[in-house]
Subunit: 463 residues, 2 copies
Amino acid sequence: MFEKFFNPEAVAVVGASNNPVKIGYAIMRNLISSGYAGKIYPVNRNPGDILGIHSYQSLTDINRSVDLAVITVPAASVFDEVKECVSLKVPYVIIIPGGFSETGESGREVEKSIKNLIKGSHTRLIGPNTVGVYFPHTKLNTALTPPERVSFPVAGDIAFISQSGALGLLTMDSISEYGIGISAFVNIGNKIDVDENEFLEYFNQDARTKAIAIYLESMDNGRRFYELLRAINRVKPTVVLKSGRTEASAKAASLHTGALASNDRIVDGMLRQAGAARAYDEVELLDYSRVLAYSKPFAGERIAVVTTAGGVGVITSDYVSSRSHGIGLHMATLSEDTKAEIRKQIVSFGSAENPVDLTADGDIPSYEKVLGVLQKDRGVDAIIAYALPQTPKMNMEVVEVISRLSAADKPILVGVIGSKLGKELLVEFERARIPAFPSIERVVKSLKVLHERGIYLKSRGLL
Amino acid sequence: MFEKFFNPEAVAVVGASNNPVKIGYAIMRNLISSGYAGKIYPVNRNPGDILGIHSYQSLTDINRSVDLAVITVPAASVFDEVKECVSLKVPYVIIIPGGFSETGESGREVEKSIKNLIKGSHTRLIGPNTVGVYFPHTKLNTALTPPERVSFPVAGDIAFISQSGALGLLTMDSISEYGIGISAFVNIGNKIDVDENEFLEYFNQDARTKAIAIYLESMDNGRRFYELLRAINRVKPTVVLKSGRTEASAKAASLHTGALASNDRIVDGMLRQAGAARAYDEVELLDYSRVLAYSKPFAGERIAVVTTAGGVGVITSDYVSSRSHGIGLHMATLSEDTKAEIRKQIVSFGSAENPVDLTADGDIPSYEKVLGVLQKDRGVDAIIAYALPQTPKMNMEVVEVISRLSAADKPILVGVIGSKLGKELLVEFERARIPAFPSIERVVKSLKVLHERGIYLKSRGLL
């Protein structure tokens, strides 16, 4: 299922264009510039080449089977194009344009008629109102945005299912700066045929995918979604950003993707029951997906913090231990042996208490020894380690050190705050699949999600 | 007061060094590379040059008065150096090294003896346990970190008082990436003499400073701090990040800067009473300072949102209107006239309801007209506008458009989510003093702080 969708040998772009203001132009450019290795067939009523590739006047004219047709023509012409796809038995069709159920009754009618076209056929539809897909592994990219406007992430461990196209694109654009990778991106849009549930099943089986991130404005088959989430979360973590939480925003969602309102308390309880993490925005969605994809969940509540900047340690302790503005866990009480060992590694005005403060004198060997001691302390359940590039003796070796020590029992989450050197460190941590975050709050919130998964797995006898 | 501190004509660096591992080396490099235009006098017991500048064997040997002495020698030698400063009537002395009250009783005793030295003298002390200062306007930079490790912000509107040096440095490093400027940075450290209160008074008078950001682990004179904050906030907004909120973190703070614990509920009530905004981490501190420095506070509760990406509008509506995960304000109900005007500007599948969705077709002229209409709608109190670089027709002109429309009554806060083009937009917005933020949550949280200041000013009859 979906094999040819994720790995098509031939893709047709219906409405491909040489005109830079058309989406059929941007999509052609993305397909070409991403380095998609399969065959590309532009389709345009006018004969000629499109971006240097021979163009066909209709899908039928191509005279060979394509695995995927990307329809970029305006809404009014979509019906006819889908009809042709069905008669040619094109297995997968992405309908890019908006202008359907999200605009009202007449749009809903058109969607229905398109849906009727594929009944009993071999054709599956993705969309409409979608930017389509981006698959780093096969370099298939059908985004409707010019390539210079969006950076796309490298290949990674997170599958990203989004109901909204633009939200997907800007999230991918944001994370690529930090070298964060994804295994696939699919934008389900108005999902008149294939929906989040089918992709959930696919990514559950996909060996590349270690965690699944989902942005939804509506659940058309909430029962099925719940059952899938519940089954999948026993093995593979999922993070759900479900928007339209209030009356005001649910109305906005219905105008955006034709989503029907759902009671947010029910959604919340359902996600909790299913063991899914809940994100509230685009940043949390990928932060939580990363920590769950890369780290071992933990059920304990005792957190150790290592820093080379005292103030960062104090603020982190606040967030860890506070219930009002924080996650309500506990700062670990280190054993006397641990403290004695740490004291050997730090200057006199450092702190061997938790948060451990190596001060600006902290170098990589002492950092490594301190982390090693904390990994062994039975009073510690998880570790937050700051790699602060402003500290004179901090360097890229810290990535290898933390990577090595992350192999031990307790998860290590990393905070990196800074600009140029900070960005380089974050990219290196990401490459090593160490969850690293550019702010204190983000590292602590992600820690909480990893802890909640630990609690969930433990309650199911899975940890 | 402090005139020669912020604008010294001659600075001595006691313990200046050619040895790259010494902080007396890093500080000399920062002074030189920042472009400080006054005289620099390195002081080192050994004769010779330091970084190409003639060095003196003692402060006395310089044989002219200096306005500021930066003491970089180890803690044990600080007493003697301060004694010399006092006898030479050096008006300002920064004591860089740690190793005093934050390490325990003996350190506290040394601090006391140093404090006794300046009684009745003309000398004021900043520190110890400080990185000193950074003043963009006079390019005075005494940071102890090698210059290649920290980027320093440009000249701007925010004065930044920090008890912790490293937290100050890494925060400055982070914001410089976005072109965010400051009017001054002072690190008060263990504050045995000059404390946050005196700098608060100074920045209150400073015309360059439009908002004051303060990071504190302790308040030694809380009464005075409260009275100052209360007076200052009537005119100039302040944002306070007070850490050590819980028992666990207060202990960490005492090990870091020798801070005494304070009851956080009292701190909270005090800040509220004084009209200060409270930040909980390094990101909020500068976000809130910027929005308060650049924008007009508002007391109403009706928020309009403009986006070119529907999903971003829905998530923003969630955060605006939700109480559980959000700020509990209201999405404005737009008037029929407003909606009719907006409809003229957008494609059929866009939304003229709030959040207004111009979709990927939204261009700058329609963006400008929509913002103009919202500025006139009496049912709107404040506006969140997204400038999303993934949208094909979005470009740098949006900065000028929003800048022009921000001159009208209602504040406009901007969200920019993305990577390369996003960063460029953020820097341009910052240059225009438009508060812009790289995530949905950050723009909404900042909006709340601006609203709270509006409520505060209104309750005092000041709005």
